[in-house]
Subunit: 197 residues, 2 copies
Amino acid sequence: MPERRPRKDAARNRAAVLAAADSLFARGESVEAVTMADVAAEAGVGKATLFRAFGDRTGLIQALYAARLRPVMEAVEEGPSPLGPATPARQRVPALLDAILCFKLDNRHLALALEEAGSGGPYQAEQYDWWHHTLQAALEEIPGLPDAAFTAHALLAATRADLVEHLAGQQQMPRQQLRAHLAAYTARLLDAGGQIG
Amino acid sequence: MPERRPRKDAARNRAAVLAAADSLFARGESVEAVTMADVAAEAGVGKATLFRAFGDRTGLIQALYAARLRPVMEAVEEGPSPLGPATPARQRVPALLDAILCFKLDNRHLALALEEAGSGGPYQAEQYDWWHHTLQAALEEIPGLPDAAFTAHALLAATRADLVEHLAGQQQMPRQQLRAHLAAYTARLLDAGGQIG
DNA sequence: TGCAAAAACGGACCCCGGGTCCGTATCGTC
DNA sequence: GACGATACGGACCCGGGGTCCGTTTTTGCA
């Protein structure tokens, strides 16, 4: 299936919508206060165009999220240490979690919107599966841990967007402190079973 | 402020609504598919009655949730070991988490609905604060752990309703296995720093 | 027991936001 | 420049949360 490329006005509009949504989401306090009509207006486009390009609200949010996430994904899949695949698991796991946390801190609105989108929380967004797979694989190389799949879920849960928002947003916890807490928590889990610093 | 008690028809209707909502939520697949009008109809009551009694959708869900949770809360606050306050922290923490997990397994629809209600996830429902407080206090009595407040958040995140739903619902993981995973995870965290079994 | 004020009732109604329809404008191609 | 294919846009539909207000029930008091 050749998948012929879109007309150029369609491409232009798609980009405009993406930019408009990004700007609107970042501007206001809550993402859910931004209506699809708002986005269309900001982009200077009809509502139908927006739905034609992204299917529905969730689609738009996912597209934005995926775009922002791409560089991080690339860094994880083929980048240098400590995020890249050549890193020993014991260093890579905390690096992955820190990367996720930082990403969510930098993209709070989006992450929040995505994780609230539709029902089922973040667990149906395909990005979640990817993170989970990656993290699980790394965890499996560390001996003595509980079930890697569950552990990966539990660790990822500690970086849920609404928790991050609760801590960094409502409670004003500084970025560095949050990162330090998560790092300490992760270390505690990974270092159990013998060695003490 | 004497807070005179409600008229008896109001009380009866309140109970009827609660019962109707409970039944409807449990019956259907997704909670969000149940409309307020549905609940009113099932209860044999006008919509306004429903809103008068509970304020809004979230209020109704919270009321249901709180009612279900009460016995657990009592068991934690004044019950016997291992849930009650007299339990040593090292045993109480896993007991608390297991209790939460079981509760969410037994009340999946409700927990899911509550944690999705409004924005901000579960972190604005007052029950969360209560659990967090309780868990944090217990954690503080275990030496060598990372920041107790953060750890409590992280552990609670591992019992998020949508994660439970994902594992127990979509992936069909059996109850006992899920409990075992969580227990192992918790144990790993608590037992770190020296002693090996 | 009778009566009036207070409290609650109910369902028609409003509002707003996601998603769609279809007549019109634009693009790409020959 | 002409014609089919593709995209546009905003009026429109629909469904659900939440409210208004005329009517009914309860309650407190004589």
